[in-house]
Amino acid sequence: METDMTPVDALRAFGRDLLSAPRRLYETAFRGGPPSTDRTRSTFVFGNVFLHLHSVRTHRWSLRWTTTFGLGIAGVSAFLITLATGILLMLYYKPLPDAAYQSIKDIHFVVPTGRLIRNLHRWAANVMVVAVILHMARAFYTAAYRKPREFNWLIGIGLLVTTLGLSFTGYLLPWDQLAYWAITIGANIAQSPREVTDALGITQYFDPGGLQRLLLLGSDTVGAEALIRFFLLHVMILPLALAALMAVHFWRIRKDGGMARPADADARIAAVRHDETYPVFTEAPAKTYHLAAIVRGRTPAVGRGPENTVPSMPHLFYAELGVLMLTLLLCLGLSLLSDAPLKELANPNVPENPAKAPWYFLGLQELVSFSAFMGGVGIPMIVILGLALIPYLDRESQGTGEWLGGPGGWRLVRRSAIVGLGAPLIIESSAIHFGWLREWFPEIPQLAVTLVNPATLLTAVYALYSIWCIRRYQSARAGAVGLFTCFLCGFVVLTVIGTYLRGPNWAFYWSPALWPGH
């Protein structure tokens, strides 16, 4: 302590420091200060561990509404909503058979706001699935997966699979009829490689299917062990995987140079006046501004920043916040309109008839109704492999960052949609009307049914059509457009058939109103 200081001075200094502690706490936590100038706006982004996944400045092209429609951020927002509501649900949820069902009932009927939180969780999960699929379609139809973004497309596929995994493990937890039979069917899909090993007669030596089922269920029957494993997947393993993949996905966007944009994006942006969007609550750079005001006309430095970029804070972050609020509004609206379902307590002796998964899996359920292995394992693997290969086979550059860019354009998409919708309709209606191989040749070996069934036929038609597109348009991008459009159309057709046209015993009905009464 300094010698010329009296004890009173020391106490006074102490009191001053104590009073300024809150302000200094704030200053040490947020070192950049308020984001009011270009420099502090930069610090605001790169000085923050979470925000610096974004770059400091954002290209105007990325901020155009039609570039992304905010679909990726909508998916993230839905994930954040499920995260928050999921933690709240875990306060009451008990992952044991029967107790699980009772705890969901408690959440729904007894816990204050429990019903709203559960509805929000369920609807946000649905919104997330839709947003992720649409976001993928956006990335595809703007050819945004091309160099240097190939690897991020793969991360995106990983995110899609993880999202579907979270949805699947989620609706198992209430331990109602839907949950019990979905676990049973899911575990048996995991076991379905036996369909092939049995046909080859090697199951007793090599049984990957049986091992997968055992690892999922932790037992040879569906019970407490299975529930705790799916609970662990739902609340720990898959969310962590999703968060890790998301971090890489966002960081890669920045490292790959932001959103994909056409080569002439700058020229097209320059044609539009942006004075009204900038500056936003800033102390305008007074000197330059006055000079610019004297000299009528446009100067390069004012208002637009270098290379047609604007500070991410506030332009990008406020746009993202807007999408978050819209997503929350959508989920809240849906939650107030419609309650999350809860069926009867699981009954291991009587499956529901028909036992239907949530809508996003009904296309898959339609596929497994032809062959468990091909529909549940084989074709999904082929689809994922096909999607993953797209950026490595399409190495063209025409139309990058452009909606429906590249050869063929909208005409090709329309043509592909006709094939994509027509093929499953024709194949399904003939299979529904005339039956399939087993009805015609009762003695046919199982391997033939596994290899040749409506599901594999549809996959083959789509693959051949895509190869035809490559030939016809002399372009791998055209083949990719054919394949992806067919994939989306097939998903829609199969989902609609599974949802509306399948009744008891998975038989065909024109409408649920025609189902025989139970």
Partner: protein, 160 residues
């Protein structure tokens, strides 16, 4: 700057590795190997040595009058038991497609989940089921009938 021609080296006569590099590389491989072996050991954890599942053997009391060809479903079990002139036999009621419990219909067993149909002898008549419903081991001892869901017998095996 002069470029000195270095002697060409082949696969049989590789570039010598320095002692420091060798030590670094071998410790890297040792660390990687140790982690890998540890991981392989722990991978056994999710597969339990004893499975938590109810007993698969149970006794069944058939009704005094059971028509040949008519199925008797013991309460709480996914098994259909039959009795005819040759004896008693039991057929699993778990669909070989994706594990749903089949219902007894007029012409055989029907699966509600994906539409598989089976005849009363278990053979597949329609749908995606890859295998017939298995026949289960039945033992009759002094009037008491025991069925073992864990053991299958060839179709047609009836126990008097």
């Amino acid at each position: 700057m002069t470029v000195s021609a270095r002697p060409a080296r082949s696969r049989l006569d590789p570039e010598p590795i320095s002692r420091r590099d060798w030590l670094g590389l071998s410790s890297l491989w040792a660390a990687g190997g140790a982690l890998l072996f540890g991981l392989i050991g722990v991978l056994r954890l999710p597969k339990a040595a004893v499975l938590d599942s109810p007993s698969k053997r149970f006794q069944v009391q058939l009704p005094a009058t059971l028509d040949p060809g008519a199925a008797f479903i013991p309460p709480g079990r996914a098994v259909a038991v039959f009795r005819d002139a040759q004896g008693v036999y039991a057929i699993s009621n778990i669909c070989t497609h994706l594990g749903c419990v089949v219902k007894t219909g007029a012409e055989g067993f029907e699966c509600p989940c994906h539409g598989s149909r089976f005849a009363f002898d278990g053979s597949v008549t329609k749908g995606p089921a890859p295998r017939p419903l298995p026949w289960l081991k039945v033992s009759v001892r002094g009037g008491a009938i025991t069925i073992d869901e864990g053991a299958t017998v060839p179709p047609g095996t009836k126990v008097a």
